[in-house]
Symmetry: none
Subunit: 201 residues, 4 copies
DNA sequence: GACTAAACGAGACGGTACGTCATGTCTTGGG
DNA sequence: CCCAAGACATGACGTACCGTCTCGTTTAGTC
């Protein structure tokens, strides 16, 4: 998002990639270690060895910075699997997601998800960069599944998705940990019964 | 929580119920209108016509105050239904909960749930006063259902509960609205198939 | 001053002399140990084991309380000497005063004298109870001396008094110590030359 | 004192002289109008149109600020005269000082002198910036006078100085006004008799 | 090689809110 | 009617960050 504005300048000193990296790294570290609320721009600037100006020049807000830092650390690490069946694809994707959320990046994402409730801009940024792509993929995969007869009759994609992903995210709201792989498998089994034509655990 | 300390003092000027009410009301209003992050003690004190001291005398932190204010406005409004079947009980309870969350009190709770991610004390307070009682009831009801053969074989209560409640809460994380009653019914139907022995929608 | 109001009550619980003493003692201790600015009513009440109400009932202000406490501890300790000559009387009185000011009571008085600059009421109270009686005596003694020809010609009593007492008090303004007896004697000798007919040191 | 630190910084936004002046002026006004005790940093900040941070950045305490404000308003206004004789020099200097103390700056100084009794840091600051330079000059001038035979025999400079300046400052302790020029002349005449070889009024 | 122009670090700026402290007043129950 | 206890509204304290601003200093590219 921030990079978009770098499009066409021709003259003047070019943006320092060193600073950019240092800022994103420092932001990510603070996010993981102290959470979103305690993410102080001044602390980031000091840790990154830059001036606050440089941060504000390239990121409009703490929210954008945090989201950018998260993706800087996470980028392209989450694929969208293709196992052959919708049930297998979702299971694989959700288990992979659970694993990621349980790690360092999970703490960062959780911190931001919390902040998002009180920071509309963060909510927007997160929705756009994280949630939406996943939702897109989910919808398409689920629609394809429906078309190919993999779903039980009368199952709406939206409903199915909320059942598959809700139990994974919800614990983050209460300060809880992301469920372990075994727990994820357990609820996926239960959910699959209602969703997939071949729902047998 | 704050009231606990009022137990048995005999001497000195008694606590002003007027101030207590004004503070809780002002807190709730700010919570609903501006969210938890923007809930400034100074603003609450001014709105309530009290001093900050009086707030800090009775509530140890913003977190406790917010939670107390929420319950002051919500108190005893949520019963735990008894329809005759576990499936009916959970359906009724969850629909009632969804209705509450969609209203003003829902905005307050959502604001706090967001704050909880970045404020361990708020997470603790919320867990203790909101989540835990509900979890208690849920566990007991689910265990009873299991004992009475209302669950499908091999269904763990914990798993079932996460499947029933997760899709309800999760949208709050992304700044989304609580699902409408129809959407709640839809996912409950799907979830019930995997959980309850008589899961037919 | 405060006691004046105790004149004629007849009914109700009588004033507690225990509290009165405890309050005055605690006030004096605080005055000596921490100074006038740091003389907190709340600390005095706690140290005296009384309520703040009791203090405010009997003393209108911190200033009155402090002055009262000072005289409670000092009372009637300063006589007005009569050596036979004006020069001898003043010398004796000033040396006695210097000795007092160098002790514990001096620290209390010094603390109040400082506070007086910023607390008109304290200035008034101090002036009335401390300064004025001394000035009275000084004027009278000096006038008598003049009448009896003990002063050099054209010496105004007011001028003479300021010369005798000024060098004693002035150091208090700058946080300094009251001059030692030898220093006092030295300046008195010098001053006497200009003031008294028999001014020879 | 605050300025000392401004010595050699090269980087960053330079200190705002506008703010500095506004703060010192506002401080001086409050000092004159309300005294040292009532000199609230917040009020100064508001009156000066600055943030409190800016004050605390440049002055370590209320005491330093007050002293600085006083000198900002007074600076270099007090010379050390040279009339030819020690007696003349001191007379001139003391009369000039009395005139200053009777004005607005005198009220400010008096307020601070009072505060100094209860604020060791203020006492230190005042001593260092006001009292000490004057004492220095006094000592040197008096020592020279002694060397040049202008003093009566056996007159110690320290004693002489306390006799000359004490009567000027002492009234400030009791909330009184600085003596008028005529009163100052009167006591100087008396004091001179004991001090100076040519002490004849 | 000088010139132009933007990014850079540093850090001061006016603010807002923090949680604490003491003020002087009030409101109880008990002596 | 006094007393202790202590809650009350008020207002200043000194601190931490906010997001903006103003410096002098790089660091390119173009003339």
């Amino acid at each position: 998002m921030a990079d978009d504005m770098a499009k066409s300048r021709v003259t003047g000193r070019p943006r320092s990639e060193t600073s950019r990296g240092a800022i994103l790294d420092a932001t990510f570290r603070h996010l993981v270690e102290r959470g979103y609320d305690a993410l102080a721009m001044e602390a980031v600037a000091k840790a990154a060895g830059t001036g606050k100006t440089t941060i504000y020049r390239w990121w409009r807000s703490r929210a954008e910075l945090a989201v950018d830092a998260f993706f800087h650390a996470t980028e392209a690490e989450l694929g969208f699997p293709a196992t052959g069946s919708a049930k297998g694809d979702f299971r694989a994707q959700i288990l992979e997601l659970a694993a990621l959320l349980r790690g360092e990046r999970g703490r960062a994402l959780a911190a931001m998800l919390g902040g998002a409730r009180n920071d509309p801009e963060l909510a927007r940024a997160l929705g756009e960069k994280w949630l939406e792509p996943r939702r897109q993929w989910g919808f398409q995969r689920m629609n394809r599944a429906k078309a190919e007869g993999e779903l039980r009759p009368h199952v709406e994609p939206e409903t199915a998705l909320s059942l598959l992903y809700g139990p994974l995210y919800a614990p983050l709201l209460f300060g809880g940990e992301v469920p372990l792989a075994s727990a994820v498998e357990a609820y996926l089994n239960l959910a699959s019964i209602g969703i997939f034509a071949d729902g047998s655990a």
